[in-house]
Symmetry: C2
Subunit: 219 residues, 2 copies
């Protein structure tokens, strides 16, 4: 009595959820959201062995979360489609609302609660049109070059301290990075605030900006 279509659907959905249920795989997905990546690149980012990373990727593939194509010696993996971004964002929402640990981690960057509030994509577009905001992309340079918010300047987080002179203290700054989970922008905001800048985070990151149909500049 167990295997009607209902049970079959539950089984398929559970397969997808289980594929999302590993920190390493989530980290790989977040990087894949920035663009195509080889197995080797993903393995290095996630701190995994090549064979291990390959197995994780195949699990993601079986769950329909990623696709791959061979390009010469390399196999390039990519996110299956934008609905994967949606499920990642939904996961982040649930965890942020209902897990005290997540709220604590996020708040750990700031003294004042209000500073956590992100800027919406719409609001940022209006401010950009009025020219009253500096958009700061704190991702590594290669990710910036593969696509970024038009008009944004790129200072990777680890260079921020050295290159802080490039930022004008008079204009409000909006920082963004990879997506709703990416802590780079949290750290950037915390550091810049400590130096007296007016900074906020953009809601989510570049992948969601692109998925919302907004323009993306390429270097």
């Amino acid at each position: 009595m167990s295997t009607g279509p209902k049970q079959a659907l539950y089984g398929e959905f559970a397969l997808v959820a289980r594929a999302l249920g590993s920190p390493h795989r989530l980290e790989m997905l977040e990087h894949l959201a920035q663009g195509e990546r080889s197995v080797e690149a993903l393995a290095e980012r996630a701190g995994l062995g090549i064979a291990n990373a390959s197995q994780h990727l195949q699990q993601l593939k079986r769950a329909g979360l990623v696709g791959s194509r061979r390009e010469g010696k390399y196999v390039r993996y990519r996110l299956a489609d934008d609905s994967v971004l949606d499920v990642m964002a939904a996961l982040s929402e649930v965890a942020s609302h209902n897990l005290a640990e997540v709220a604590l981690i996020r708040q750990g960057y700031f003294d004042v609660r209000d500073e956590l509030e992100p800027v919406s994509r719409d609001e940022l577009r209006h401010r950009m049109r009025d020219g009253v905001v500096t958009v700061l992309d704190v991702r590594p340079q290669d990710e910036f070059e593969a696509g970024h918010v038009p008009g944004a300047i790129n200072i990777p987080l680890k260079d921020l301290e050295n290159r802080i002179a490039e930022l004008s203290p008079e204009q409000e700054i909006v920082a963004y990075c990879r997506g709703p989970w990416c802590v780079l922008s949290f750290e950037a905001v915390a550091e810049l605030r400590a130096r007296g800048f007016t900074v906020r985070r953009l809601q989510d990151g570049l992948p969601e900006w692109r998925a919302a149909g907004l323009p993306v500049a390429h270097a």
Copy 2:
């Protein structure tokens, strides 16, 4: 070198996803989306032992997906908040887009592809206002009484064959049930179509209707 805030966040998100990664737990969540339920009721629905169901529920609780309160001898579990509905819907989206098995199961109910297209909540509201549609709730009676789309009539799927005379063959019917995964409405649509009715499914189910801020009628 492994436990920065980034890794901690991945770990929390993975905890949530793992909790979603079991067919039994997903089935319990779908029932909890209809309203509060005791451990016993959930165990019976999912075909589990009491102790086993209790453990699954505690796993959901640790992941922040459900809450509970004691009411006399019973412990009533409930969905933590509406963001849980979002993540369930997002899971359904990914699976439907990217897993051939899911598409096959869904299409298994129909001959013609177009009949799969659901009616959006907005479209249904307009048709209801014009009085040109019968809204059919195919969930069991107790779930209907706990809350339903105003004006809907309740014929549980298993009674549909006997009570088919209650439906007017002239008016279009829109059927709904528990949510994006619920196959009751699929089966109802298939059966009614076979008998010459004009039927479509509502997008998602009652929990999503309520979460969208639309009115809900009680008993």
